[in-house]
């Protein structure tokens, strides 16, 4: 009986956690909180990161490496 009670208590706790997580996710979904976070924080910081990134200058690559094309 005691073991059954423990199982029920664990199941009840799991149900409560799932229920709370579900409600939180629905709030995030309904109020577009995912979009707002991405727009206000994630995207501007990622864009700044890409702007700062050092990049190879591809135009420095010599163009004359290819074999000459024979006419005809």
């Amino acid at each position: 009986m005691k073991a059954l009670k423990t199982i029920f208590r664990i199941l009840w706790t799991l149900l409560k956690i799932t229920g709370i997580a579900y409600v939180i996710l629905f709030i995030v979904f309904f109020f577009d909180l995912d979009g707002k976070l991405l727009y206000t924080v994630v995207e501007p910081n990622l864009a700044a990161h890409y702007d700062r990134m050092e990049r190879r200058d591809n135009t420095k690559m010599p163009y004359g490496k290819k074999d000459p094309v024979e006419a005809g």
Partner: protein, 584 residues
């Protein structure tokens, strides 16, 4: 770290700066501004009117079923400028929770599982931090769903969302394939995956590589870095267009070609394969892309041009020989022989997708029960037919078939507020591919079919090698933009035939301002529209570049036509004019 406000200001993520920008003083100032402008008064009045005029029965019905089309006021949901929602749309209990469970939660969860299935998490993180087109775009993917599916209900919501799901999954497969082999993410070293992949232009059909599908993976180089990003988050592509022009390349060719080589100028391309196959599709601008890619990639490259006047019988043999030369190039460079059996296997599998596409067109053309909206139809069709046979397309078609058959059997009118059946012709604005969702919600313009969907309409025979190569050449020539837009005026004028076939009474005629081929035939279209007494709305745009003609301007053009020529009233006046210049 910075924080961007909805007004577009960037604030350092520090307590003092945040307090000054968003504290009570700033909020009070903003509120004062809204009181002065009368916005608060108007909102209070509208809410009071709504409360007074709504009975309890109506309120319960609106909660349970969602508001009827004319009362939704979808435009009020937007945060001005951003395209974000104050809150997502309440579509009634059933459809809101379908959206929450089967679209929002399902797709976020499957984005994670797909990343694990097609590659691994470390490569994904490295790729996200390395490539702008990756990090800045793919995190915003659920908003792409939102924009495409605004106002949809029932089977139309379900069918369209499955199409989007297919595209997301295939996109993840492609970028994970690139990242797994990418030399730039693996210390400049080549791995086994790198040796077994073929890179190709996004406009080279995946069908070309069927003879090696079980041994080699063909991955289109620009499909994810360029094409998909324009639809999902069009902020990204502007960097590449500007980069192309920054090294002195001209600004007047097609911006698609500019963006494609801009990726190389900015060194933002993954190095994931030992060889490259390019194409001249759809125009001479693409030839320039191939030349520049040949320079920047510096590896064996095969250029496989398609003839412009493709249905000239004299060019068929030539086009078939081009494909055979390409196959020889792959054999030579990759060391794996051509497999006829594999070609047959994948071509026959792909034919099943084409067969279902024909069934879909039949329902779209002849009934009001078609459960796919304009943007889902266009993007899914162009994506899978360009990409070639992949398991995800069959999985999606199976699901959509079930929805389609159910909708037809129950005779559910999927777009009940349709006032005009629209065909969209020529090349679409990639930054506003969801214009048709807006047009249906605002004006009842139901975009039944579009030109890009009608490309690649070619079954691939597999009974003999001669038939196979003949059909594959035709398939290759019927590629996007080539088959109709720049393939000769008799093809672009097939519009009249398709208008009749799909029972359309209106045309939305895209006017790609930097497409020289289409600009050349503009006047002839004007004449034909007048002669045939067809209602046609010209929609100017610059393909991926929203700075030339904004989305708001596109809406205004359609609004003007609907009020001044058609003398119609909008179904949802809140959607007539709103600012979304900074939206994804």
């Amino acid at each position: 770290m910075i924080l961007k406000t909805f007004e577009g200001k960037e604030i350092p993520l520090k307590p003092k700066a945040l307090w000054e920008a968003m504290g009570p003083k700033a909020k009070l100032k903003k509120f004062g501004g809204r009181v002065k402008s009368g916005a608060i008064k108007e909102k209070v009045k509208r809410t009071a009117d709504a409360v007074v005029s709504t009975s309890l029965k109506k309120a319960v019905s609106d909660l349970w079923n969602g508001k009827p089309h004319g009362e939704r006021r979808l435009g009020d949901l937007y945060i001005p400028g951003t395209g974000l929602y104050k809150h997502r749309e309440w579509r009634g209990v059933k459809d809101t929770f379908y959206y929450f469970h089967m679209i929002w939660l399902y797709n976020y969860a499957h984005m994670v599982t797909d990343i694990m299935e097609y590659g691994n998490l470390p490569d994904f993180i490295k790729g996200t931090l390395r490539y702008r087109w990756m990090g800045q775009t793919y995190l915003t993917v659920m908003h792409w769903f939102d924009r495409g599916m605004e106002g949809l209900r029932g089977p139309a919501l379900r069918g369209s969302a499955w199409h989007y799901r297919g595209m997301v999954s295939e996109s993840i497969r492609q970028f994970q394939a690139m990242f797994a082999a990418d030399k730039k993410l693996h210390g400049g070293k080549t791995n086994e995956r790198w040796k077994k992949q073929i890179a190709h232009n996004e406009t080279v059909s995946g069908c070309i590589f069927y003879p090696w599908r079980d041994y080699l993976d063909d991955v289109p180089l620009e499909m994810i870095p360029y094409f998909v990003t324009c639809h999902v988050n069009n902020h990204t592509v502007l960097n590449y267009i500007d980069a192309a022009q920054s090294i002195g390349l001209p600004a007047d060719p097609c911006p698609m070609c500019q963006a494609e080589y801009g990726i190389f100028v900015l060194d933002d391309y993954p190095d994931f394969a030992p060889i490259m196959i390019t194409s001249n599709e759809a125009c001479d601008g693409s030839v320039a892309t191939s030349v520049l890619q040949d320079w920047f990639l510096d590896r064996p490259l095969f250029a496989m041009p398609q003839p412009m006047r493709f249905d000239d019988p004299l060019v068929q043999e030539h086009c078939q020989r081009e494909i055979e030369e390409c196959w020889k190039f792959v054999e030579r460079e990759m060391g794996i022989p051509f497999s006829w059996d594999q070609y047959v296997k994948y071509a026959e599998s792909f034919n099943k997708l084409t067969e279902f596409e024909h069934e879909k067109w039949d329902v779209a053309a002849n009934t009001p029960y078609y459960p796919i909206n304009g943007v889902a139809q266009a993007l899914y069709r162009i994506y899978y037919s360009q990409d070639g046979d992949r398991p995800i397309w069959h999985e999606i078609d199976k699901r959509v078939r079930k929805i389609l058959e159910d909708t037809v059997e129950k005779k559910i009118n999927t777009f009940p507020k349709t006032r005009h059946r629209v065909i969209a012709w020529s090349c679409a604005p990639l930054y506003y591919s969801n214009w048709c969702t807006w047009a249906y919600n605002c004006w009842g313009l139901n975009c039944v079919i579009n030109m890009d969907s009608l490309m690649f309409d070619q079954m691939l025979r597999t009974d003999t090698y001669e038939h196979a190569i003949e059909d594959l050449a035709w398939f290759n020539e019927k590629a996007p933009m080539r088959a109709m837009a720049v393939g000769g005026h008799e093809h672009i004028f097939r519009l009249w035939e398709f208008m009749e076939r799909f029972h359309c009474d209106m045309v939305v005629m895209y006017d790609q301002l930097q497409c020289k081929g289409m600009q050349g035939i503009h006047g002839m279209f004007e004449d034909e529209f007048r002669r045939r007494n067809i209602h046609a709305i010209w929609v100017p745009h610059a393909l991926p570049d929203k700075r030339t003609v904004s989305r708001r301007e596109i809406r205004q053009i359609i609004n003007d036509y609907m009020t001044t020529v058609m003398h119609e009233e909008p179904l949802d006046p809140s959607l007539l004019d709103f600012e979304d210049g900074d939206s994804w």
